[in-house]
Symmetry: C2
Subunit: 283 residues, 2 copies
């Protein structure tokens, strides 16, 4: 990686902030664009970014060899529509978004000639948000997914792979946008849908004193950034809706066994579940 | 607690084994009854029990001032039908079972005159089973629930409370059998039903490399002792079935918002969930 390159981070939230922090630490010049002045000021004070602005971005954008978009999908498209034309030829950009289908194509179409957008997803979210929590994000145990399209060049794929190494990710893999969205629907969004539904199903605050590890583990992720997750759910609603149906069918099968007092049917589900879950522990 | 009392543990599994270990450590004379000779031998070698048998229990039962039943509900009733008449007057017994309705009354009816059964539930199960894992069980962070009925005497309630203190439980509370089963259906069995259904819904072993904390936390309890959980689910099937319905209704509501692209509806569920889950953290 060429340390003389200038990075621009657009959106200094939890993940954008973490990229800014790590890139500054690694010796790059890092510029920042953010909606709120107070969070930008904080990032400047902490040295996460060398310069930053909350409006009139043309000069900052024009300096960027690389851009990292730390924005929600809808905001990313809106930003590109307004500011994309200022991106300079040769610039290679990426994002941190948790959904890809319908987003990557649109952003690529908005990049000016000679510049390139290669999408990626650092799977390192936390229950907390905001640049003030960025330093708590741990990339060293996290997956980094690159989701190239036919529009991407080998050079951009090399760059994003080197960036992921530089940031210290545990595993770097490549998926198509569609594969990514099916995967993330299952391993992340469906889990959040279940945890949230369990908390919403009934107000059992009086049972808090009895909850052990099972309930706490299952609902830990029910504390959720409402705005971001509504955005992710809606962008991936077809995959997620199908996965909710698949899960609901299994739960209804279990309920059927319960009501029929079918001990063997229940035990068969428990054995299948135990066997499959063990396979997950090995990887 | 009177250290001259003799305890009999019937069923040296994970919890029965832990009671035997702690009571022996505390200086009581502890006898053991177990189905398998090899696990009994192990418990004898480790000093968890001073004496034990796998059949012809009359003399051991006749020596017991207190009995702890570490059996599944169905096995407990069968054992009482066969051996209950050997229990001596003055003996006070308890169990470790995770369901109470339909069990406690039956066991109480099978106790000979002058003896007494006071039901309780140490909420300290683990994903592992067997006496060899008993030492790993941690009572110091666990709830102990006493579920008395009108048949119980104040003396038996004092004894079980003192026993729970002696064993080092974090919190000791009292519920009716019906309250207990509604509570345990929600905080434990429903969580296991959800985790197992998620693993059974589809064979996504190829996604193991992408799973982060959300998925792993949600499915940790999907590794399950099939025989024991089928038993617990069936004993509590009315509560559990109703709770599955309640949960499914919330999940279907979320799916409805998704399909209607109702961002406000989703965000409202996320906010409710976040608020309720935060209350659980405080307790």
């Amino acid at each position: 990686m060429d340390k003389r390159k200038t990075y621009l981070v657009v959106g200094l939230g939890l993940l954008g902030g973490k990229y800014a922090l790590e890139l500054s630490r690694a010796g790059y010049r890092v510029l920042g664009i953010n909606r709120s002045q107070s969070n930008l000021d904080w990032a400047l004070e902490q040295g996460y970014v060398a310069e930053g602005k909350t409006r009139d971005f043309a000069d900052l954008i024009g300096q960027a060899d690389h851009i990292v978009f730390g924005l929600y999908p809808t905001a990313l498209i809106r930003w590109m529509e307004e500011w994309g034309s200022y991106i300079r030829p040769g610039c290679i950009a990426t994002d941190v978004s948790g959904v890809k289908t319908g987003l990557v194509d649109k952003v690529q179409a908005l990049m000016p000639p000679g510049s390139e957008f290669i999408a990626s997803h650092p799977m390192a979210g936390k229950e907390v948000s905001g640049v003030q929590n960025a330093a708590k994000v741990d990339f060293s145990s996290a997956n980094f997914i690159i989701t190239p399209t036919p529009a991407n060049t080998p050079g951009a794929i090399v760059w994003i792979t080197e960036l992921a190494h530089e940031l210290g990710f545990a595993r770097i893999t490549t998926l198509t946008p569609a594969q990514h969205d099916r995967m993330i629907g299952y391993v992340s969004q469906l889990c959040h849908a279940i945890a949230v539904s369990l908390m919403c199903a009934s107000d059992n605050a009086d049972l808090a004193q009895y909850t052990g590890d099972s309930f706490r583990d299952l609902t830990r992720i029910a504390k959720i950034n409402a705005e971001m997750w509504a955005e992710l759910f809606l962008w991936n609603r077809e995959n997620l809706s199908a996965q909710i149906d698949q899960f609901s069918a299994a739960l209804q099968q279990m309920k059927g066994y319960l009501e029929a007092e079918d001990r063997e049917g229940l035990e068969e589900m428990f054995r299948l579940s135990t066997q499959r879950r063990s396979a997950f522990d090995l990887k």
